[in-house]
Amino acid sequence: MSYTVKTDIFEGPFDLLLHLVARQKVDIAELSICDIADQYLAYVDTMRELDLDVASDFLLVAATLLELKAASLLPQESMPELEEFEDMPAEEARELLVARLLAYKQFKTTAAELAARFEATSRMHSRAAGLEDRYLRLMPDYLEGVTLRGLAVICADLVYRREVFLLEAEHIAAAPISLEAHVEGVARTLRNRGRAMLSELVMADASKEELVVTFLAILELYKRGLVGLKQDVLFGDIEVASIEKEDR
């Protein structure tokens, strides 16, 4: 299956943590949250170079591990606040992490079972030959109400949307503006301020290219689930708000 070839890519922070936890079969007594945390961070570090977006998914668990590590070194110290594990004593945070990991492990196993079922079922083929001609006219009219013109409009619309999209993208590519840099820039601003209007995110003297890239950056952040968008009136200013990552 496809995932077996990407050996060093993990499907999420729990997947990586599970891998690290399971990898060391020996010396259980020697292992500690410190080792795990260090290994985890080392991995996230290499990942960060490869793909910042992927790495960001892993940071909450990294932060939790760090908290646990700190707690194990300095049990009396109070811990910095963490989003999901906020105000939670280290022990509880650990317990939650263990519970999450166990639940994830359970579903990973379940997924493997489902994959096996899917694989087995996909070796049995239903008949997709369609009806014999004599029955075709009896079939319900799945295209009821659809006109030829309607079909053409749908196709033209798709094609046009796609075309504009590509043209815009090509246009931007010509300018030395990195979308990823803008994504980072917008994300940084939002991290500091929580929310901002689109008009505030683009400089007053921004070129059309910069405007477009900033807008694309906002769409990209929206797609990644990092920001929410709100526009009160048509053609009005757009509010971009950072989303607390409580659902990670």
Binding site: M1, S2, E11, G12, F14, D15, V21, I28, L31, S32, I33, C34, I36, V61, L68, K69, A71, S72, P75, E91, R94, E95, L96, L97, V98, A99, R100, L101, L102, A103, Y104, Q106, F107, K108, T109, T110, A111, E113, L114, A115, R117, F118, A120, T121, S122, R123, M124, H125, R127, L131, Y222, K223, G225, G228, K230, I243, E244, E246, D247, R248
Partner: protein, 216 residues
């Protein structure tokens, strides 16, 4: 076969042959103007007959109905003949998300994220597009987050009669050794011994709602 089920065989085969989805016995009985119990019996006999005679096709009960499929033994020939390498596989990420949805349905994206520990938006969209899951409502208690459930196509593609046929989730719980190992390894060396506290149920982790709805 009894006389009656013998009579039903031909018409049943013809209907099943042309059907593009699983059909239940009641519907077949109605079309054949026959007793549903007889039809059900005839279907089971037919299914056994195909199996006994090692025919190229089989009759299976899936997704709430009966449908003919080729026998898996002949898959390599069929692949060569029509399907080529057009086999439809699912990524690990998609399978994980699907597993969570299958067992916790109806469940929000936040619920799936919580179990997987990672944003599952893209995989959920791809599962919807593949027709394996669908939107089934909104969670009023969680910012109107969209709830997802599996479809009939899911049952069919996974060879399940109904959702009750899903193997119990408990079967997949990590064994005590794994659990102990995970606990120990995430434990501080000198930390307090962990009591066997209740493992938190992830279904209830729905504080993580649809992130976009939060803002609006």
């Amino acid at each position: 076969m009894s006389d009656r089920t013998e009579e039903l065989r031909g018409p049943l085969e013809a209907l099943l042959f042309v059907s593009d989805e699983p059909v239940n016995a009641a519907r077949l009985a109605k079309i054949l103007d026959a007793d549903p119990v007889e039809v059900d019996k005839a279907l089971r006999e037919l299914s056994d007959e195909y199996a006994d005679e090692e025919r190229g096709f089989q009759l299976r009960e899936v997704a709430g109905g009966w449908r003919m499929y080729t026998h898996p033994a002949h898959h390599p020939y069929i692949e060569q003949f029509v399907l080529s390498w057009d086999t439809r596989r699912l990524s690990q990420a998609a399978l994980e998300a699907l597993a969570v949805i299958a067992y916790h349905q109806p469940v929000s994206r936040g619920g799936v994220n919580a179990v997987r520990g990672v944003n599952s938006e893209a995989v959920i969209a791809s599962l919807v597009e593949k027709g394996l899951i669908r939107e089934t409502g909104r969670d009023k208690n969680a910012g109107n987050a969209i709830l997802y459930a599996t479809t009939r196509a899911f049952l069919e593609k996974f060879g399940l009669k109904d959702l009750a046929e899903l193997p119990p989730l408990e079967e997949f719980a990590p064994d005590p050794d794994t659990e102990r190992a995970i606990r120990e390894r995430l434990n501080a060396l000198d930390g307090p011994t962990l009591a066997d506290e209740d493992v938190e149920d992830d279904e209830d982790d729905d504080k993580c709602e649809d992130s976009i709805d939060d803002v609006e």
